[in-house]
Symmetry: C2
Subunit: 295 residues, 2 copies
């Protein structure tokens, strides 16, 4: 019997998920003509039409939908093989991908990675700064630093620490506008807040204080922009205590005010735990992040 080209399935899944040849090509680092050919070749081989070719892109037909589950299962197996391989590599040298929140990736990891480079020059590092919990199953990353307890199966997680949050502002701002003495003073101040994300609003609500988003003079959903806005003296914000204590231009406010703490977890896939390289980086990260959270 005639075997078909398994790569066609890989392309099929990518196009189905991306919704267009071009987008799928970007994700697979392939090219649009290639994926187009793959899809039609698969259709010919199977004798079934999988996509409706529209102006806006490729849309699955009913037949295509019927194939997608199995095709995805195939990809999962391929991913699992890739992880298995990493778990069995014997060399320490190579690349490790780490995903972490924007704040951690921007302000904490660079110096940690510099120190890692001194002791392990053979290890290259790729940092994915993202607040979305990336997919360890599909190996978007080898190691994830997350602010929520990972729940997925086959994920090994170690809790690093609880990162206390504190209220803070730039000294320049406080010199100008005065230092709040009690929590209610905050409402007289300029606040830096999130835009669509309503963590802070809910935090206030938790203390019985109703604020709406217009209370915040400076709003952004980008955590790095948020922190830089605080540093630049736009007003009062909330940040990890360790971040504040490392920045001489920003000072804590109302240190007695009880705020929730952010748990920090280090996660990696079960299959990959015996890779000396990933192990090394994970252990190093764990120790350094623990030190960071204490300082």
């Amino acid at each position: 019997m005639t075997e078909f080209d398994w790569n066609l399935i890989r392309s099929f899944v990518a196009v189905a998920e991306a919704g267009s040849l071009s987008e799928a090509a970007r994700r697979l680092s392939s090219s649009q003509p290639t994926l187009g050919r793959h899809v039609t070749e698969l259709e010919v081989a199977l004798g079934v039409v999988l996509f409706r070719r529209g102006r806006g892109g490729y849309e699955l037909t009913e037949n295509g939908v019927a194939f997608l589950d199995r095709a995805k299962a195939m990809r999962e197996n391929a991913d699992a093989l890739a992880r298995l391989a990493i778990g069995r590599e014997e060399t320490v040298a190579g690349t490790v991908r780490i995903t972490a929140s924007e704040i951690i990736a921007t302000y904490v990891l660079p110096s940690i990675m510099a120190r890692l480079g001194e002791s392990e020059p053979g290890i290259e590092v790729e940092i994915v700064a993202s607040n979305q919990v990336g997919n360890l199953l599909r190996r978007d990353a080898d190691i994830a630093i997350r602010m929520v307890a990972p729940a997925q199966d086959d994920i090994i997680a170690r809790k690093i620490a609880d990162l206390p949050l504190i209220c803070c502002a730039a000294s320049s701002y406080l010199d100008r506008r005065g230092r709040p003495r009690q929590a209610t003073d905050l409402l007289e101040h300029d606040l830096v807040g999130f835009d669509r994300d309503d963590d802070i609003v809910q935090g206030f609500a938790h203390f019985g204080v109703e604020v709406d988003r217009h209370k915040f003079r400076f709003r952004t959903d980008n955590q790095v922009v948020f922190w830089e806005a605080v540093r630049a003296g736009n007003g009062i914000g909330f940040a990890q205590a360790s971040l504040v204590s490392r920045d001489p231009g920003v000072e804590p406010i109302l240190p007695e005010m009880p705020l929730p703490a952010l748990p920090m977890w280090l996660a990696m896939h079960h299959d990959v735990r015996h890779s000396p390289r990933i192990r090394r980086v994970a252990d190093f990260l764990f120790a350094e992040l623990k030190a960071y959270s204490a300082g």
Copy 2:
């Protein structure tokens, strides 16, 4: 992240199961250099040694063993996709592979298929004559005619009939050596029997008659050779009643002797049941084989 070529996994499984590049190449209808390259390319991509290259062939390393399960799972998904495709094809024309026992494939199917060709000229047929129960899961065949009840999951089976076995011999032989009147007379006769297969020996044992294989003057494990040996007058044998009744040169003996009947089943894979082509052939086969078993 970098995706590897999924076809390498296909080759890996084939080589692992075949035990050598050359044998795997034969099964995949590929070539030995290609598979050799695939395997080493996969090893490089994964950074893991999968095979021990020996004089006699390729043998899995421990690492290779660790990968095999997942890789097989991947192949199963690929096979499932192929079946799904067949189940969704809309055209009746095309090829159908049928596996059946040597006897059925040799003496029964050809005339049935000739009749099928008259009403469905667009359907091509491939017959796999084999007593091994071929693998419908891996699509070694689309339809299987089997003499045992299929047990695998996802297999749809219809029982066609019970084929009675009878004792028989060529008239030329019986004219020469006389016709047995009772079961014990058989021991005075030349018998045609199996070689390593001891079905017949056990059949005798079932009647309390101990015979050893040297009782059989003509021995073969090939069922077709067996039947031709009976037809040619080598002695007394056992065969499906329908076969005997269709052959003017062979006559039944001791028709009252109680012998076990062979159940005949038609099996196909669940995924494939809606293919008009396979459906058509299966229905046709069912009716014709039922008629055969009655005649």
